[in-house]
């Protein structure tokens, strides 16, 4: 069973509503931004229900013929929705957007809206902790060393970007110098072109170097000493790279 956790009142009501419909032959759809946990929620409440994707209309048609209960993900991708027959079936669906409102309104008895993570601050904290635990196991490191508060709340793509932020933080701390060079190698190999590439790419080295130095030593004078370069050269580079 997929785990689903929430502290959001709105999501708790969705959980309650869907749980109550477990014994009813009704059609329900959960609509919300991508990566907000719609599919995880349905899999949590209906763990044994077959799942088909709206991008595969034939699979949906076959599943509807063979089952009284199915989960259709990405419902918005399904063509000819108006011809679907949901009578006396338990249909559960997810959609990233509503699409044709009238069709959805006429097909589904229960239309839920899943709030994005930006409206579920406590869920963000929970998910960060969960991703941290999972990631620490994968990277074989101690999760305790990474306070969740220090990991940025990147929720531009809800769970997807949040997970990436957590994994990125863990990956950073496990990287050796050689790994960093490998990452840069991959990047240069993929992007190197034109006739001014040296100047265009030198920032990849200089910007993090100067930023980290300034954060660590506080003053440009001290940093110039540490870097072994002239103070004016450092100031020029700070200006060039628009640091601060």
């Amino acid at each position: 069973m997929d785990n689903f956790y929430t502290t959001s009142d709105a999501v708790k009501q969705i959980v309650k509503g869907l749980t109550l419909t477990k014994s009813l032959y009704v059609s329900s759809i959960v609509i919300g931004e991508p990566h907000t946990g719609k599919k995880t929620l349905l899999r949590h409440i209906f763990p044994d229900t077959p799942v088909v994707c709206g991008s595969d209309p034939e699979a949906v048609e076959k599943a509807l013929d063979q089952n009284d209960e199915i989960i259709i993900t990405r419902f918005e991708l399904l063509p000819n929705k108006e011809n679907l027959d949901f009578e006396n079936k338990r249909i559960l669906a997810t959609a990233d957007y509503i699409g044709n409102h009238n069709v959805v309104d006429s097909l589904f008895a229960f239309i839920y809206t899943m709030p994005p993570l930006s409206e579920r601050p406590d869920d963000i904290l929970y998910l960060k902790r969960r991703f941290l635990r999972e990631g620490a196991e994968i990277f074989d490191i101690d999760a305790e060393k990474f306070p969740v508060e220090e990991i940025p709340n990147d929720i531009r793509q809800n769970c997807k970007s949040l997970k990436r932020a957590v994994y990125f933080r863990l990956a950073m701390h496990t990287m050796e110098q050689e790994d960093i060079m490998k990452v840069l190698y991959r990047h240069f190999f993929d992007t190197l072109q034109g006739n001014n590439a040296y100047k265009e790419n030198i920032g990849l080295f200089e910007i993090p170097l100067i930023r980290a130095g300034l954060d660590k030593y506080g003053s440009q004078l001290k940093l110039s000493e540490i870097l072994g370069i002239n103070r004016n050269t450092l100031r020029k580079k700070i200006h060039e790279h628009r640091i601060d």
């Binding site: 009501q13 969705i14 309650k16 109550l20 009813l24 032959y25 006396n88 008895a109």
Partner: protein
Amino acid sequence: MNTVSIDFKPFIEWDNNPFILFDNQGKILYLNNAAEILLGYVSRKEIFELALSHAPQSYGFQTAPVTLRYDIFNFFSVTVGYENEEQLGIRLYNAPRIRNQSPVENDKLVETDLNILLEANIALFRTRNNNKLELLTDPDLPKLKIDQNTFSKLLRKVFEAFRASDSIRIELKMLVGEHVIIEGKKTPLALLSVSANGRYVDTDKQIVEFAESCHVRYYLYEKSVKLEIPLLS
């Protein structure tokens, strides 16, 4: 025709049109079954005042066309009469109800606990409206056969009408003593009433459509929606 020996009282007692006999102070001397149910929805005082206002100027009987609505009751006329100073009678005539002629699609009907359907719809409603909500249900309501999907759509549309309302009150109960004839069968009724400080009317058309499809009688008021749900078995 000699009517002296005929006892008319049972005919009045079992008449579907409410009949009430008052004394000159407005105290009820007699009321038939239909009037007893009506008085659950309107006060004795209001009916007495109605009788006084439509009473003939001298002894006798007077019938007046009036359009009256007391909650789920609609009347199109009243007859008021008195033959002495002590007793005043009023009879209210039920407005004819449009009977749903569409056949019941038995293959779509599934035995259902109405309270679960209602609770699931309230959960859906609560995702959009956090205002105070009072719920009164009858946990002993018998299961009924219903098209669950269509009926859920009906409930969703009813609740949508209250999406921005305050002080919402939801009541689900048996309508004791009331029945509806569906396909020749006397079917008991449950009443679902949703009321608040106000409501939207933009979903009324769909409420009507889904209600008719489920053989549910609907009453759309300014601040409330009432559904008479046949308890098909």
